[in-house]
Symmetry: C2
Subunit: 130 residues, 2 copies
DNA sequence: GGTTTCGGTCACGTTGAAGTAACCACCCTC
DNA sequence: GAGGGTGGTTACTTCAACGTGACCGAAACC
Protein backbone atom coordinates (compact mmCIF):
# COMPACT_ATOMS: atom_id res chain seq x y z
CA UNK A 1 0.00 0.00 0.00
CA UNK A 2 3.00 2.25 -0.61
CA UNK A 3 2.99 5.17 -3.00
CA UNK A 4 4.54 2.88 -5.59
CA UNK A 5 1.11 1.36 -6.17
CA UNK A 6 0.62 4.40 -8.39
CA UNK A 7 2.70 2.52 -10.96
CA UNK A 8 -0.10 0.04 -11.38
CA UNK A 9 -3.32 0.80 -13.13
CA UNK A 10 -6.09 -1.52 -14.19
CA UNK A 11 -6.68 0.68 -17.23
CA UNK A 12 -3.45 -0.56 -18.79
CA UNK A 13 -4.11 -3.83 -20.58
CA UNK A 14 -0.77 -5.44 -19.72
CA UNK A 15 -0.61 -4.29 -16.09
CA UNK A 16 -0.83 -7.27 -13.74
CA UNK A 17 -3.44 -5.38 -11.73
CA UNK A 18 -5.78 -5.80 -14.70
CA UNK A 19 -5.55 -9.58 -14.31
CA UNK A 20 -6.15 -9.21 -10.58
CA UNK A 21 -9.21 -7.10 -11.21
CA UNK A 22 -10.53 -9.70 -13.65
CA UNK A 23 -10.14 -12.40 -11.00
CA UNK A 24 -11.84 -10.55 -8.15
CA UNK A 25 -14.51 -8.82 -10.26
CA UNK A 26 -16.26 -12.13 -10.79
CA UNK A 27 -19.49 -13.52 -9.35
CA UNK A 28 -18.03 -16.89 -8.29
CA UNK A 29 -15.11 -15.23 -6.54
CA UNK A 30 -17.47 -12.90 -4.73
CA UNK A 31 -19.76 -15.66 -3.47
CA UNK A 32 -16.95 -17.99 -2.43
CA UNK A 33 -15.02 -15.29 -0.56
CA UNK A 34 -18.15 -14.09 1.23
CA UNK A 35 -19.00 -17.61 2.41
CA UNK A 36 -15.44 -18.40 3.47
CA UNK A 37 -15.22 -15.14 5.37
CA UNK A 38 -18.12 -16.28 7.55
CA UNK A 39 -16.23 -19.42 8.45
CA UNK A 40 -13.97 -22.06 6.88
CA UNK A 41 -16.03 -24.51 4.89
CA UNK A 42 -15.77 -27.92 3.29
CA UNK A 43 -16.02 -28.47 -0.44
CA UNK A 44 -19.48 -29.97 -0.18
CA UNK A 45 -20.83 -27.09 1.89
CA UNK A 46 -19.63 -24.56 -0.68
CA UNK A 47 -21.08 -26.68 -3.44
CA UNK A 48 -24.47 -26.70 -1.74
CA UNK A 49 -24.49 -23.03 -0.78
CA UNK A 50 -23.36 -21.51 -4.06
CA UNK A 51 -26.45 -22.68 -5.90
CA UNK A 52 -25.93 -23.64 -9.50
CA UNK A 53 -22.16 -23.93 -9.42
CA UNK A 54 -20.79 -27.18 -10.81
CA UNK A 55 -18.05 -29.21 -9.15
CA UNK A 56 -15.67 -28.35 -11.97
CA UNK A 57 -16.22 -24.61 -11.74
CA UNK A 58 -16.00 -24.67 -7.95
CA UNK A 59 -12.74 -26.60 -8.04
CA UNK A 60 -11.30 -24.36 -10.75
CA UNK A 61 -12.31 -21.25 -8.78
CA UNK A 62 -10.86 -22.56 -5.53
CA UNK A 63 -7.58 -23.50 -7.26
CA UNK A 64 -7.32 -20.06 -8.86
CA UNK A 65 -8.01 -18.34 -5.54
CA UNK A 66 -5.47 -20.61 -3.88
CA UNK A 67 -2.88 -19.73 -6.52
CA UNK A 68 -3.55 -16.03 -6.02
CA UNK A 69 -3.05 -16.42 -2.28
CA UNK A 70 -6.58 -15.63 -1.18
CA UNK A 71 -7.70 -19.09 -0.11
CA UNK A 72 -5.87 -22.00 1.49
CA UNK A 73 -6.75 -25.63 1.89
CA UNK A 74 -6.25 -26.85 5.44
CA UNK A 75 -4.22 -30.00 4.94
CA UNK A 76 -5.17 -31.88 8.07
CA UNK A 77 -8.89 -31.38 7.79
CA UNK A 78 -10.15 -33.24 4.77
CA UNK A 79 -10.90 -30.54 2.15
CA UNK A 80 -11.59 -27.62 4.41
CA UNK A 81 -11.00 -24.24 2.79
CA UNK A 82 -10.38 -20.93 4.52
CA UNK A 83 -9.41 -17.39 3.61
CA UNK A 84 -5.83 -16.22 4.04
CA UNK A 85 -5.09 -12.81 5.52
CA UNK A 86 -5.00 -11.48 1.96
CA UNK A 87 -8.33 -13.10 1.18
CA UNK A 88 -9.92 -11.53 4.23
CA UNK A 89 -9.12 -8.04 2.93
CA UNK A 90 -11.28 -8.87 -0.07
CA UNK A 91 -14.42 -9.58 1.88
CA UNK A 92 -15.44 -5.98 2.48
CA UNK A 93 -15.39 -4.81 -1.17
CA UNK A 94 -17.02 -8.02 -2.40
CA UNK A 95 -19.65 -7.96 0.31
CA UNK A 96 -20.44 -4.41 -0.82
CA UNK A 97 -21.11 -5.69 -4.33
CA UNK A 98 -23.39 -8.38 -2.98
CA UNK A 99 -25.32 -5.90 -0.88
CA UNK A 100 -25.63 -3.60 -3.91
CA UNK A 101 -26.93 -6.42 -6.11
CA UNK A 102 -29.52 -7.49 -3.54
CA UNK A 103 -30.55 -3.95 -2.65
CA UNK A 104 -31.15 -2.59 -6.12
CA UNK A 105 -32.84 -5.58 -7.78
CA UNK A 106 -36.08 -3.64 -8.16
CA UNK A 107 -34.44 -0.55 -9.66
CA UNK A 108 -32.48 -2.64 -12.13
CA UNK A 109 -35.51 -4.60 -13.18
CA UNK A 110 -37.60 -1.46 -13.59
CA UNK A 111 -34.86 0.00 -15.79
CA UNK A 112 -34.76 -3.15 -17.89
CA UNK A 113 -38.51 -3.08 -18.38
CA UNK A 114 -38.38 0.58 -19.43
CA UNK A 115 -35.52 -0.13 -21.83
CA UNK A 116 -37.21 -3.13 -23.40
CA UNK A 117 -40.53 -1.33 -23.78
CA UNK A 118 -38.75 1.57 -25.48
CA UNK A 119 -37.04 -0.91 -27.81
CA UNK A 120 -40.44 -2.37 -28.70
CA UNK A 121 -41.72 1.14 -29.48
CA UNK A 122 -38.76 1.78 -31.76
CA UNK A 123 -39.39 -1.46 -33.59
CA UNK A 124 -43.08 -0.69 -34.07
CA UNK A 125 -42.35 2.81 -35.35
CA UNK A 126 -39.79 1.46 -37.79
CA UNK A 127 -42.18 -1.16 -39.12
CA UNK A 128 -45.01 1.34 -39.57
CA UNK A 129 -42.66 3.62 -41.49
CA UNK A 130 -42.01 0.99 -44.14
CA UNK B 1 -33.11 -0.78 0.78
CA UNK B 2 -36.20 -1.92 2.69
CA UNK B 3 -36.27 -5.04 4.79
CA UNK B 4 -37.83 -6.83 1.80
CA UNK B 5 -34.37 -6.99 0.24
CA UNK B 6 -33.93 -10.00 2.52
CA UNK B 7 -36.02 -11.91 -0.03
CA UNK B 8 -33.20 -11.61 -2.52
CA UNK B 9 -30.00 -13.54 -2.29
CA UNK B 10 -27.25 -13.91 -4.84
CA UNK B 11 -26.68 -17.45 -3.59
CA UNK B 12 -29.92 -18.56 -5.19
CA UNK B 13 -29.29 -19.36 -8.85
CA UNK B 14 -32.62 -18.02 -10.12
CA UNK B 15 -32.76 -14.89 -7.98
CA UNK B 16 -32.54 -11.79 -10.18
CA UNK B 17 -29.90 -10.41 -7.82
CA UNK B 18 -27.58 -13.15 -9.08
CA UNK B 19 -27.82 -11.69 -12.60
CA UNK B 20 -27.20 -8.24 -11.17
CA UNK B 21 -24.13 -9.46 -9.35
CA UNK B 22 -22.84 -11.04 -12.55
CA UNK B 23 -23.22 -7.73 -14.38
CA UNK B 24 -21.49 -5.56 -11.78
CA UNK B 25 -18.83 -8.10 -10.75
CA UNK B 26 -17.10 -7.64 -14.10
CA UNK B 27 -13.88 -5.89 -15.05
CA UNK B 28 -15.36 -3.90 -17.95
CA UNK B 29 -18.25 -2.69 -15.84
CA UNK B 30 -15.84 -1.62 -13.12
CA UNK B 31 -13.57 0.36 -15.42
CA UNK B 32 -16.39 2.03 -17.33
CA UNK B 33 -18.28 3.05 -14.20
CA UNK B 34 -15.14 4.41 -12.55
CA UNK B 35 -14.29 6.54 -15.61
CA UNK B 36 -17.85 7.80 -16.03
CA UNK B 37 -18.04 8.70 -12.36
CA UNK B 38 -15.13 11.10 -12.85
CA UNK B 39 -17.02 12.86 -15.61
CA UNK B 40 -19.30 12.10 -18.55
CA UNK B 41 -17.26 10.88 -21.50
CA UNK B 42 -17.56 10.33 -25.21
CA UNK B 43 -17.36 6.89 -26.79
CA UNK B 44 -13.90 7.56 -28.20
CA UNK B 45 -12.53 8.72 -24.85
CA UNK B 46 -13.72 5.55 -23.15
CA UNK B 47 -12.32 3.49 -25.97
CA UNK B 48 -8.91 5.09 -25.53
CA UNK B 49 -8.87 4.97 -21.74
CA UNK B 50 -10.02 1.40 -21.22
CA UNK B 51 -6.94 -0.04 -22.89
CA UNK B 52 -7.48 -3.19 -24.86
CA UNK B 53 -11.26 -3.03 -25.08
CA UNK B 54 -12.65 -3.42 -28.57
CA UNK B 55 -15.41 -1.24 -30.01
CA UNK B 56 -17.77 -4.19 -29.99
CA UNK B 57 -17.22 -5.04 -26.34
CA UNK B 58 -17.40 -1.40 -25.30
CA UNK B 59 -20.68 -0.90 -27.15
CA UNK B 60 -22.12 -4.13 -25.77
CA UNK B 61 -21.09 -3.14 -22.24
CA UNK B 62 -22.52 0.36 -22.54
CA UNK B 63 -25.81 -1.00 -23.92
CA UNK B 64 -26.06 -3.51 -21.07
CA UNK B 65 -25.34 -0.83 -18.47
CA UNK B 66 -27.89 1.43 -20.17
CA UNK B 67 -30.48 -1.33 -20.07
CA UNK B 68 -29.79 -1.90 -16.39
CA UNK B 69 -30.28 1.80 -15.69
CA UNK B 70 -26.72 2.59 -14.63
CA UNK B 71 -25.61 4.61 -17.65
CA UNK B 72 -27.44 6.97 -19.98
CA UNK B 73 -26.56 8.39 -23.36
CA UNK B 74 -27.07 12.14 -23.52
CA UNK B 75 -29.11 12.57 -26.67
CA UNK B 76 -28.14 16.09 -27.63
CA UNK B 77 -24.42 15.69 -27.22
CA UNK B 78 -23.11 13.34 -29.87
CA UNK B 79 -22.44 10.03 -28.06
CA UNK B 80 -21.74 11.32 -24.60
CA UNK B 81 -22.32 8.84 -21.80
CA UNK B 82 -22.91 9.54 -18.15
CA UNK B 83 -23.88 7.68 -14.99
CA UNK B 84 -27.43 7.77 -13.72
CA UNK B 85 -28.15 8.24 -10.02
CA UNK B 86 -28.26 4.44 -9.75
CA UNK B 87 -24.94 4.15 -11.56
CA UNK B 88 -23.32 6.60 -9.20
CA UNK B 89 -24.12 4.37 -6.22
CA UNK B 90 -21.98 1.72 -7.90
CA UNK B 91 -18.83 3.78 -8.03
CA UNK B 92 -17.78 3.32 -4.42
CA UNK B 93 -17.86 -0.50 -4.35
CA UNK B 94 -16.27 -0.80 -7.78
CA UNK B 95 -13.61 1.76 -6.97
CA UNK B 96 -12.80 -0.33 -3.90
CA UNK B 97 -12.17 -3.34 -6.13
CA UNK B 98 -9.90 -1.30 -8.36
CA UNK B 99 -7.93 -0.01 -5.38
CA UNK B 100 -7.63 -3.55 -4.06
CA UNK B 101 -6.36 -4.87 -7.38
CA UNK B 102 -3.75 -2.13 -7.70
CA UNK B 103 -2.69 -2.28 -4.04
CA UNK B 104 -2.11 -6.00 -3.75
CA UNK B 105 -0.46 -6.73 -7.10
CA UNK B 106 2.78 -7.68 -5.39
CA UNK B 107 1.16 -9.97 -2.83
CA UNK B 108 -0.84 -11.74 -5.53
CA UNK B 109 2.19 -12.22 -7.75
CA UNK B 110 4.27 -13.50 -4.87
CA UNK B 111 1.52 -16.02 -4.06
CA UNK B 112 1.38 -17.13 -7.70
CA UNK B 113 5.14 -17.64 -7.79
CA UNK B 114 5.03 -19.67 -4.60
CA UNK B 115 2.15 -21.77 -5.92
CA UNK B 116 3.79 -22.41 -9.28
CA UNK B 117 7.13 -23.31 -7.69
CA UNK B 118 5.38 -25.76 -5.39
CA UNK B 119 3.63 -27.26 -8.41
CA UNK B 120 7.00 -27.68 -10.14
CA UNK B 121 8.33 -29.44 -7.03
CA UNK B 122 5.38 -31.80 -7.02
CA UNK B 123 5.96 -32.60 -10.69
CA UNK B 124 9.66 -33.27 -10.14
CA UNK B 125 8.95 -35.52 -7.17
CA UNK B 126 6.39 -37.44 -9.15
CA UNK B 127 8.77 -37.94 -12.07
CA UNK B 128 11.62 -39.06 -9.84
CA UNK B 129 9.34 -41.61 -8.18
CA UNK B 130 8.70 -43.35 -11.50
C1' DG C 1 -17.72 19.59 -51.49
C1' DG C 2 -14.12 16.23 -50.55
C1' DT C 3 -11.88 14.03 -46.85
C1' DT C 4 -11.33 12.58 -42.22
C1' DT C 5 -12.92 11.45 -37.81
C1' DC C 6 -16.37 9.54 -34.97
C1' DG C 7 -19.70 6.35 -33.48
C1' DG C 8 -21.35 2.87 -34.53
C1' DT C 9 -23.17 -1.94 -37.15
C1' DC C 10 -22.62 -6.47 -39.20
C1' DA C 11 -20.92 -11.01 -40.27
C1' DC C 12 -18.19 -13.67 -39.36
C1' DG C 13 -14.23 -16.60 -36.59
C1' DT C 14 -11.84 -17.76 -32.22
C1' DT C 15 -11.22 -18.57 -27.54
C1' DG C 16 -12.11 -19.47 -23.00
C1' DA C 17 -15.44 -20.31 -19.49
C1' DA C 18 -18.68 -23.35 -18.08
C1' DG C 19 -21.74 -27.67 -18.46
C1' DT C 20 -22.13 -32.91 -18.57
C1' DA C 21 -21.36 -37.22 -17.27
C1' DA C 22 -18.67 -40.91 -16.20
C1' DC C 23 -15.09 -42.50 -13.34
C1' DC C 24 -12.05 -43.03 -9.08
C1' DA C 25 -9.76 -43.26 -4.48
C1' DC C 26 -10.75 -42.80 0.12
C1' DC C 27 -13.16 -43.28 4.18
C1' DC C 28 -17.05 -44.95 6.84
C1' DT C 29 -20.33 -48.12 8.37
C1' DC C 30 -23.10 -52.01 8.30
C1' DG D 1 -16.58 -56.70 1.65
C1' DA D 2 -20.67 -54.24 -0.37
C1' DG D 3 -22.66 -49.75 -0.46
C1' DG D 4 -22.85 -44.91 0.13
C1' DG D 5 -20.99 -40.30 0.78
C1' DT D 6 -17.21 -37.05 -0.13
C1' DG D 7 -13.78 -34.81 -2.87
C1' DG D 8 -12.13 -34.84 -6.55
C1' DT D 9 -10.41 -35.82 -11.98
C1' DT D 10 -10.92 -36.41 -16.86
C1' DA D 11 -12.65 -36.12 -21.54
C1' DC D 12 -15.75 -34.15 -24.23
C1' DT D 13 -19.34 -30.74 -25.47
C1' DT D 14 -21.70 -26.37 -25.45
C1' DC D 15 -22.14 -21.67 -25.13
C1' DA D 16 -21.22 -16.97 -24.33
C1' DA D 17 -17.69 -13.63 -24.54
C1' DC D 18 -14.58 -11.63 -27.26
C1' DG D 19 -11.74 -10.50 -31.58
C1' DT D 20 -11.47 -9.04 -36.55
C1' DG D 21 -12.19 -6.49 -40.34
C1' DA D 22 -15.04 -4.41 -43.45
C1' DC D 23 -18.56 -1.21 -43.98
C1' DC D 24 -21.59 2.96 -43.18
C1' DG D 25 -24.05 7.40 -42.11
C1' DA D 26 -23.41 11.63 -39.92
C1' DA D 27 -20.66 15.33 -38.17
C1' DA D 28 -16.58 18.17 -38.35
C1' DC D 29 -12.90 20.47 -40.79
C1' DC D 30 -10.61 22.63 -44.45
Amino acid sequence: MTETSREWTVFSAQCPSRASLARIANKWTAMIVILLDEEPRRFGELHRQVEGITKKVLIDSLRALERDGMVERVEQEHARYQLTALGRTLNEPLQALRVWAESYVDDVQAAQDRYDDAADDRTLRRISND
